[in-house]
């Protein structure tokens, strides 16, 4: 039994859970704290606005994430700015406009409906339409083939013979 694993295997194996608890867990906690929200708020409305705005802004370096999810330094800076502006009594719109003025429309996690995003918004509907047309064509084509076969007298005679088993 001892020969099957390299020396020290079981010691490492039993140490793994401890590694998990002792190292990964605190690391994860530290990470969670690092991402966590800064400071206190004067009112529930401010907290709610902060939480809402950080979910509406995109992290420009880590493009698939909001600044709420992202662990990037820039996302941290942006959260801090959202926090400060919220504490300053600025509205959610003012904060989003502030970011858009610096980073462009891209910073909105949900793109606004405007001339240059019209295609983006319309594309699901367009795709659905194209799919619908293709589906309709295919179904119509099949109905055609299903209606077509009528056997000739000769074919019917052959079938009849087959059925009788001659």
């Amino acid at each position: 039994m001892t020969g099957r694993f390299p020396r020290g295997f079981w010691r490492t194996a039993t140490a793994l859970p401890w590694l998990l608890v002792g190292w990964l867990l605190p690391a994860g906690l530290a990470l969670a704290l690092a991402i966590g929200e800064p400071g206190d708020f004067d009112s529930e409305a401010e907290r709610e606005q902060y939480q809402r705005v950080i979910r509406e802004l995109r992290c420009t370096v880590c493009q698939g994430e909001t600044i709420h999810e992202s662990n990037a330094t820039l996302a941290g800076d942006m959260r801090r700015r959202v926090y400060e502006m919220t504490r300053d009594g600025q509205s959610a719109e003012a904060i989003v406009d502030f970011m858009v003025a610096r980073y462009g429309d891209y910073v909105r996690y949900r793109p606004p409906l405007q001339a240059n995003t019209a295609l983006l918004w319309a594309s699901p509907i367009l795709l659905l339409l194209v799919g619908g047309v293709v589906w309709w064509q295919v179904v119509r084509g099949r109905r055609g083939t299903a209606a077509r076969p009528t056997f000739t007298a000769e074919e019917r005679a052959v079938l009849e013979r087959l059925r009788r088993g001659d």
């Binding site: 610096r102 980073y103 462009g104 429309d105």
Partner: protein, 181 residues
């Protein structure tokens, strides 16, 4: 029957075309809304001297480049020889030292070349946010009135300098001469 082959063929080719164009796009490069806007305001200390305050006014007054850099940014190091060439051509380059440590930045400039005329020290990224910085190095071209006329996110290249930056600098300097004469 001809359509049954032609239509999917055209559709697939169109899709491939879109994907090919997509391959060539750099998704990190976003159009900056700051082009056409005045240089954003900031108030920072000078890198060389914590007692000296610098504002956007120190960057403006003539056609100049503003380069955002840091010692931890390896692309910035790779870009610096190009900045040196521009500086030797007599183009003023101002720097924003972004999220860096003063001692490290000073030491880095001491042991290598320094293309910068003035350097603002931005350890917390405050000016960086005003200037819409998200991927160092970033370079802005200001006209004599301090309006941003061009922005490059990421490193400059010889090609970009030849095709875009230098012609625009000539144009802006001509504009400036016209305005003053």
């Amino acid at each position: 029957m001809k359509w049954r082959i032609l239509v999917p063929l055209v559709a697939v080719l169109a899709l491939l075309g879109v994907l090919l164009v997509g391959l060539g796009l750099d998704s990190r490069e976003l159009p900056s809304p700051l082009v056409g806007q005045p240089a954003p305001a900031f108030s920072l200390t000078a890198l060389e001297d914590p007692e000296t305050r610098l504002t956007e006014a120190d960057f403006t007054g003539e056609v100049a480049l503003v380069n955002v850099w840091a010692t931890w940014c390896s692309t910035c190091r790779a870009e610096k020889p190009l900045l040196m060439e521009l500086a030797e051509k007599g183009i003023p380059i101002h720097g924003i030292n972004y999220r860096d440590e003063r001692a490290a930045a000073l030491r880095y400039l001491e042991i290598s070349d320094d293309p910068y005329r003035t350097i603002a020290y931005d350890p917390d990224g405050d000016a960086g946010m005003e200037w819409g910085v998200y991927a160092t190095p970033e370079t802005y071209l200001l006209d004599a009135d301090g309006v941003i006329r061009y922005k490059r996110t990421g490193p400059l290249s010889r090609e970009l300098i030849r095709e875009d930056v230098l012609p625009l600098i000539d144009e802006l300097r001509a504009e400036q001469r016209e305005a003053t004469s």
